[in-house]
């Protein structure tokens, strides 16, 4: 992670009310320069709305937004040095790939446009597609053009709204790695929206977990996963057991639980889900259900109905703060 501490995008208490509903309910974020920052949250929690406010397509009803220390309230969209990558790509259908990428450069009256376009297309591995129309490209290729179009003008920050949401799993995995590579190569600030926790965990420097228009927690992927601020975050970021221990609610991830010879947690295997590299067991203990993650081969040898004893690595367990929901 970047050691620089200059701030890029800053949101303070941003509120957006639509039809009497608080879509954004006091959102505050400080995104550092060069950081890969993810907004993670369930559908409808306000991620797109926040991004649209930052880009200038929408206006907050309260709070302030800053870019590089400049208040954005009076800066119209076209003057904000930010570019957006849309989930729907939004490529210009009447322009070919080259002209789509060159669009921002031409408006800025930039020099050596062909070189810059070629460099951007090289970066997203699309060299040679210059003269094709967007309609003739696959979804993955369109997404690459959208990315090239957004980075070619070297904006201060890039806003990405579920850019991989419409792609199949394999393509997504590939593009995730590529996006991260491009981001660190350019050293550009990325604000990345997703509702996929694996994506957020694997790509980000830091993550903000949102729900119902509020930020629940901001932290590194490790912090958000292992030290969740509340039950919502714990449940949203991966599978989880939440158990009572010594009067506290404690978060135990399934991989901190293993099978053992004998212990005081004994139950019957409810079901076994085999994923190849790993297996997920549901074990009924009293009226609670424990999730247990095992190496794939180990899980395959366990059958539903079997009685098992569970050992918990309590060092990896995380007590939820008192009073958190």
């Amino acid at each position: 992670m970047s050691s620089r501490s200059r701030l890029s995008i800053v949101a303070k208490d941003v509120v957006r009310v639509i039809d009497g509903r608080r879509i954004l309910d006091g959102v505050s974020l400080e995104i550092r320069e060069g950081e890969f920052f993810s907004l993670l949250g369930p559908s409808g929690c306000g991620k797109t709305t926040l991004l649209r406010c930052i880009a200038g397509f929408d206006r907050p009803d309260g709070g302030t937004l800053e870019l590089d220390g400049v208040d954005l309230a009076r800066v119209p969209t076209h003057r904000r040095d930010l570019n957006m990558v849309f989930q729907s790509y939004a490529l210009f259908p009447h322009l070919d790939v080259f002209e789509n990428v060159a669009f921002g450069l031409r408006l800025a009256g930039s020099s050596s446009i062909p070189e810059k376009v070629r460099e951007a297309l090289d970066l997203v591995s699309l060299a040679g597609a210059e003269r094709r129309k967007p309609a003739t490209l696959s979804g993955g290729e369109q997404q690459r053009v959208a990315l090239a179009r957004a980075i070619v003008t070297r904006p201060k920050a890039l806003l990405l709204d579920e850019p991989l949401g419409a792609l199949d799993l394999k393509l997504r995995k590939g593009l995730q790695v590529e996006l991260r590579r491009i981001q660190s190569m350019l050293g550009m600030t990325f604000l990345y929206v997703t509702h996929d926790q694996d994506e957020a965990l694997s790509m980000s420097d830091r993550i903000a977990v949102m729900d119902g228009g509020k930020v629940r927690q901001i932290g590194t992927p490790d912090a958000v996963y292992r030290r969740p601020a509340d039950e919502f975050v714990a449940r949203f970021v991966g599978a989880v057991n939440i158990v009572d221990r010594e009067g506290r609610r404690v978060v135990v991830r399934p991989e901190s639980v293993r099978l053992t010879e004998s212990s005081d947690i004994v139950g019957a295997v409810d079901s076994v889900s085999y994923f190849g590299a790993r297996s997920l067991l549901r074990v009924a203990v009293g009226d609670a259900t424990w999730l247990v993650e095992l190496p794939g081969a180990v899980g395959r040898s366990v059958h539903a109905g079997a009685r098992v004893a569970l050992a918990v690595d309590w060092n990896e367990a995380w007590p939820l703060p008192e009073g958190a929901s």
Partner: protein
Amino acid sequence: MNDRRWWLFPPIAWLSVFLALPVAVTASKAFSTAGLEALASPTTWRLVGVSTLVAAVTTVACLLAGYPVAWCISRMPERRRRWVLFLVVLPFWANLLVRTYALMTMLRPFGVLDTWFAAVFGLWHGWLPFMVLPLYNAIEKLPPRLAEAAADLGATPAQVFFKVVVPATMPGIVAGCVLVFIPVLGAFATPEMLGGAQAFMAGSRIQLAFLSGRNPEAGAAMTLVLTAITLLLLWGYRRVHRSEGLL
């Protein structure tokens, strides 16, 4: 016999009877002594020039008025949109002559009846829906994020409109212009009724030539000229825009 070829028969028959045959008859009449005489006459070309000018002005006026109308309709909520589109088409349920008489009554108090303005105004009023509908169709299909993407990349509102919205709706613009230009080029009833004696266009001349029965050859020749102008414009458009890969 091949199924596909069989299905081609009805459209080919239709085109032969209703297009090829009339064109052939018209052409055979036009290329006669009287027809060629008419083609050589300066009056013919003056009337063709007047008609082309009137058609061009009407088309531009329809485009300038139709684009904002189509734009506003496309931004309306679904239910209201259907109503407004219905209202746009509604005048067509009344006969053209009735509508023109209504316009005469409307324009008379302003003292503009029997002027070119009244003639063009009537044509503009009559053909505006033919511009609005294809424009609406094109604008409505525009992805909503397109304009935002352009603004995001640094385009001012005017640049968004002229560099993205207009080019992306070009097929609708062309369709609307063609639908207005062609009928106005041959119009005679509306301009005669509203523009009076001075609004005498090629269409009036053609109608006179045929209906008075005195000189159908001259009428045929002028008809061919108007058809040629239309084809030339379409061909020119295709040439320009195919090189940009639009059609």
